[in-house]
Amino acid sequence: MDSIIKITDLYKTYTESEIDVHAVNGINLNIEVGEFTAIVGPSGSGKTTLLNMLGGLDTITSGKIIVDHTDLSTLSASELIEYRMKHIGFVFQSYNLIPVLTALENVEFVMNLQGVPKIERIKRSIQLLTDVGLADRIDSRPAHLSGGQQQRVAVARALASKPRFILADEPTANLDSASTENLLDIMLNLNEKENATFIFSTHDQRVVNKAKRVITIEDGKIISDIKKQ
């Protein structure tokens, strides 16, 4: 399969009270198109830092992240914003929808930034909201949706612009069991239907169980990388 992300000798070092802390400590990793990958590990293991660097949200101390032949460390702040807009979908732990916009407008938002024509973006937004089971809630504001429904809108938003991959930071942390199962099924379905690449950081065993690849990190290092058949 095609490799979409290639991480080589990646380090992220913070200095706390004059002591260097290696949040990411020499990671090498390839992620391929269409993967459904969970990055697991205890708190402070470095999984969120790794995700932030993949998303161009955090700087790299050393090493390289190549996404589709683009070295993220060479991009300026404004180029990183454009890179995120065009190539990455984000799903946050606390949904983070835009409260003043409807579900449909939230899904449309990134496509709007990309300059996708209105008819096209409405069509795709409705399609995605139907795929996540919210066809009847397209005009609802986030405040009128349950946590599970909001996270489904967030998944639809993340996929809307057809990104190269989707980063999801603890997406099920605030959801109950039923909502978690439902969300995971939806994401797996979209992973297959749209051949979308999902990368999660999670503590949730239910996510781990559904993931096709599980990478375990401890002290900033990969200690296991299991691909399920």
Binding site: I81, R84, N96, V110, L113
Partner: protein
């Protein structure tokens, strides 16, 4: 989408936005109404000064204004008046003899300026004849030998009434003390109580005879133009035409009013800017709260690809929407209020004595020029842009990765 979000965002905290909008409305209405009252007072004062006291332009012997002596007269006034009457910009002209003297009754006396007028010609220049307060008063329409009009305040001071006798004493042209017993035929009340106390009006022929100068001699030629706009040009024309005389527009005859007219606009704009600056600090504070409260959301927006330029635009638009909403409501209320009050007036008779000493009406009709509304509107837009800069800069300096983790 950014425009839509910005508009919706300002209504997320309805109470807070309403308070900001209300503060803008109150500031604008207060500032504009104050401006209208000040302008109204000033224009009414200028209008009454021109109509009653100084007319548009006065012509004097060049030495008369320094020293009001009988000998500093305009000797060829008849010719000058004939010339002026042919001028198409001029509505009416009259000439006056002016001297100073003492007005006395049996009870007391007071220093006065005695103005000799031709009643019929004077009517076309000064509206003094409309200011008579007693229905039995007459504007020299009398058979009395030496009639005199006096102001209400002087009448009170001298304890004089209509038909009272007043002795005027003054110097004749030869320097001798002379005088006459005048009969009060009318008492006038203008907006200017000082004018009412200081000026007495007699027939020009009567005073000319008493001071022993020719009737056609004048110390002052008063000119009313067809409209105020002609003043600037006509003043220059007359100055060129009568080089040996002093041609004074009302701004020079009453310099305090001229200065007031010149400086009033600047002062009122400064006041409005101060009011708007005070409001601006309130807006900055509100928008900073908005940025702090929405740190997580702004972080998320930057994470998913909203550029810093667009984040800046969004905060700028929110500030502008708040300010412009307040501006539109404030200006609308101001226009309606000023228009309503400009018809009915504001009754300040509770402080009438103080106002009349300075020559102001007790009923004030606010007057605001259209350009002031437009400029105030532009100032509100400028204020919004200024007030948005600091909070918007704060917003774009947020680090998305840190901002998105903050729990608001």
């Amino acid at each position: 989408m950014i425009l839509k979000m910005a508009w919706k965002n300002i209504w997320r905290k309805k109470l807070r936005s309403s308070v900001v909008i209300t503060s803008i409305v109150v500031g604008l209405v207060g500032g504009i109404l104050y401006m209208g009252i000040m302008n109204g007072m000033m224009y009414q004062r200028i209008g009454s000064a021109i109509a009653t006291e100084v007319s548009h332009i006065q012509i004097h012997n060049e030495k008369f204004l320094e020293n009001e002596e009988l000998k500093f007269s305009i000797t060829n006034s008849t010719n000058i008046i004939n010339k002026l009457e042919k001028n198409k910009a001029i509505r009416s002209v009259c000439s006056r003899i002016i001297t100073t003297g003492m007005a006395s009754t049996a009870r007391t006396g007071s220093g006065v300026e005695i103005i000799g007028i031709n009643p019929n010609k004077e009517k076309a220049v000064s509206n003094l004849y409309t200011k008579l307060i007693d229905s039995t008063s007459s504007y020299f329409n009398t058979k009395a030998r030496l009639p005199i009009l006096i102001g209400e305040r002087l009448a009170k001071k001298l304890n004089a009434k209509r038909k009272s006798k007043i002795i005027l004493t003054f110097q004749s042209a030869s320097g001798e003390l002379t005088g006459g017993a005048f009969k009060v035929v009318g008492i006038f009340r203008t907006q200017n109580s000082s004018f009412d106390e200081m000026k007495v009006f007699v027939r020009k022929a009567d005073i000319a005879k008493l001071v022993d100068i020719p009737t056609e001699t004048s110390h002052e030629i008063a000119i009313m133009l067809k409209n105020d706009e002609l003043l600037k040009q006509e003043k220059e024309n007359l100055k060129k035409e009568f080089k040996e005389l002093t041609v004074s527009p009302w701004q020079e005859t009453m310099p305090e009013l001229g200065m007031m007219e010149e400086s009033m606009n600047y002062m009122l704009y400064i006041l409005m800017i101060i009011i708007l600056l005070a409001i601006a600090f309130g807006i900055v504070n509100t928008m900073l709260m908005v940025v702090f409260e929405r740190t997580k959301e702004l972080g998320m927006l930057m994470c998913i690809g909203l550029s810093r330029k667009k984040v800046f635009s969004m905060i700028l638009l929110e500030t502008m929407f708040l300010s412009i909403t307040g501006g539109i409501i404030g200006l609308t209320i101001s226009v309606l209020l000023v228009n309503w009050l400009s018809v009915d007036g504001i009754d300040l008779s509770i402080v009438s004595e103080g106002l009349q000493v300075w020559g102001y009406d007790t009923i004030i009709y606010p007057d605001v020029e259209v350009s002031y509304y437009i400029n105030t509107g532009l100032l509100v837009v400028a204020l919004a842009i200024l007030a948005a800069i600091y909070p918007a800069r704060k917003a774009i300096k947020l680090k998305p990765v840190e901002a998105v983790r903050i729990d608001n």
